[in-house]
């Protein structure tokens, strides 16, 4: 075997002469670090996995408290990114499903009330009622977009109604729309959602009364529902009964069951 001594000066830092003490020390320290790190990771995961559920406050419940903090942070971050310029892609009406999928009947199980009217609470003491005919008199907006369910499926469907922003202008609710949230619920109050105002005022957010070019059938939320393409389906409340405004988060059905409050797309 040839001598190696003469090659040593040129040797790069990758290769160094074997020193048992040094090698043992490096092995010991690094192995211990990995074991300690593994133990720490296990401890941290165990603590997080068994973390107490959040205390039901601020309109959310059901999630592990530390996770909820991050979800809310994500939501705040995303809320700032909501821009009226960022539109959900729209499609030709012909591409829309003839029979859009129906998923869930919470809040609309009971029979539809004959004399339905939307109740708008301007503040704690002042409210007024609007009939469907009055709403239909406002400028109509219709488009087809890819409706997205929190479960993961999506479907192109065609909806028509009044832009929420047009509605706000027409009924002189600009003062109310300066608040942080709008709350909506069904007449029986069994399903309820809270929507941040930037998303509510987004140009594609509709108070919707038509699907596939026809009046909404009961299962799609007749007579008036929310269509908000910048949110998952869980926020697209069917059969709107009441509307109110708030700087606090309005109660939200799915956010109380561990889902993200913002649920924005």
């Amino acid at each position: 075997m040839e001598t190696h001594e003469n090659t040593e000066p040129q040797q790069p830092k990758e290769v160094e002469p074997f020193d048992a003490r040094k090698a043992n020390r490096r092995t010991f320290i690094s192995s211990l670090t990995l074991l300690a790190g593994g133990a720490f990771a296990y401890w941290g995961w165990d603590k997080l996995y068994h973390a107490p559920k959040e205390t039901a406050a601020d309109a959310t419940a059901g999630a592990r408290a530390p996770l909820r903090k991050v979800l809310d942070f994500n939501g705040e971050l995303a809320e700032r990114a909501v821009s009226p310029q960022n539109l959900s892609k729209t499609y030709p009406k012909a591409m829309a499903a003839k029979k859009p999928r129906v998923n869930g009947d919470i809040g609309i199980k009971g029979k539809q009330v004959e004399d339905w009217a939307l109740t708008v609470y301007k503040n704690a003491s002042e409210s007024f009622k609007i009939t469907l005919d009055e709403i239909k008199k406002l400028p109509k907006t219709e488009f087809a977009f890819e409706f997205k369910c929190v479960e993961g499926w999506s479907q192109i469907s065609h909806w028509g109604g009044v832009k929420f922003s047009d509605f706000v202008k027409h009924y002189n609710l600009t003062e109310q729309a300066a608040m942080a949230y709008v709350g909506l619920n069904t007449p029986d109050k069994k399903y309820y959602v809270g929507i941040d105002m930037p998303s509510a005022l987004h140009p594609q957010t509709l108070l919707c009364y038509e699907v596939s070019g026809h009046p909404l059938p009961p299962e799609h939320g007749a007579p008036l529902r929310l269509i908000i393409p910048t949110k998952y389906g869980i926020k697209n409340l069917k059969r709107i009964g009441n509307m109110f405004f708030s700087n606090e988060r309005p109660p939200d059905y799915w956010a109380e069951l561990g889902y993200d409050y913002f649920s924005g797309l």
Binding site: V15, S30, L34, A81, E151, G258, D260, G264
Partner: protein, 233 residues
């Protein structure tokens, strides 16, 4: 005489071992999400070969009806997973470690020879530096996959705000399919990775912990020479 051959810098070892549990949590929470809408299957000529996933799988690992939980974990750990991955890429770029990791022109042909050698169809393996040609391709591919997961993940996460990313991914549905497929590929990567590590032996494994291998004079000299070659190239 024996030599210490320094192989993996401490930073790479940290990134590697931190990534392992993070990716595990991402895959597990991803499964909880996927269950809520699980249409994917391997189908050929109308015959379903495998459904993602069979009922027994969901049952055994308690995957069912945990969508909210899955989303919560997924959208918390995504930050850690992404930051760790981005720091790794930044580190390899700045430190020059990319020279050992990126495939070279010769890697594509050499990887084939490595494969034949690993399958005992060829006696000798092509000469290598820290990583052989197959490793260069695999370790670079897995980073490209990671980038793919981030891009498709963002596209599914905020399709309205990041509409241009959705377009880049070929649509919302396609983005979800790619996101899922990449996850399956991570699992395959993991299996092959573990088998290779077992076959390569203890020295190779422990070098990912302590950073160095102990080599005899001839091996060390070859490594030293090759490292110089790389430097001159």
């Amino acid at each position: 005489m024996k030599y210490i051959v320094n192989k993996h810098p401490a930073a790479i070892r940290w990134f590697h071992w931190i990534n392992f549990p993070l990716l595990a949590v991402m895959i597990w929470s991803g499964l909880l999400i996927y269950w809520a809408y699980d249409p994917y299957a391997i189908k050929l000529f109308g015959h379903t070969f495998f459904k993602f996933f069979p009922e027994w799988f969901y049952q055994k690992y308690h995957i069912k009806r945990r969508l909210a939980e899955g989303m919560a974990f997924h959208f918390v750990f995504m930050w850690l997973f992404a930051v760790n991955g981005l720091l790794y890429v930044l580190y390899t770029a700045i430190s020059g470690e990319w020279r050992y990791l990126l495939p070279k022109k010769s890697s594509w042909h050499e990887a084939w020879l490595v494969l034949l050698h690993d399958l005992h169809l060829r006696k000798t393996a092509p000469p290598q530096n820290k990583y052989n040609a197959a490793q260069r391709i695999a370790y670079t591919a897995v980073i490209v996959m990671g980038a793919g997961s981030l891009i498709t993940g963002l596209a599914i996460y905020k399709p309205a705000q990041l509409y241009w990313l959705v377009w880049l991914c070929g649509g919302y549905k396609t983005a979800r399919l790619i996101h899922f497929t990449l996850t399956i590929l991570y699992c395959l990567f993991f299996v092959i990775h573990i088998v290779q590590v077992i076959l390569a032996g203890w020295q190779n494994f422990i070098s990912m912990v302590r950073g160095f291998e102990v080599a005899d004079a001839s091996t060390a000299k070859i490594i030293a020479k090759r490292d110089n070659d790389d430097g001159n190239a």
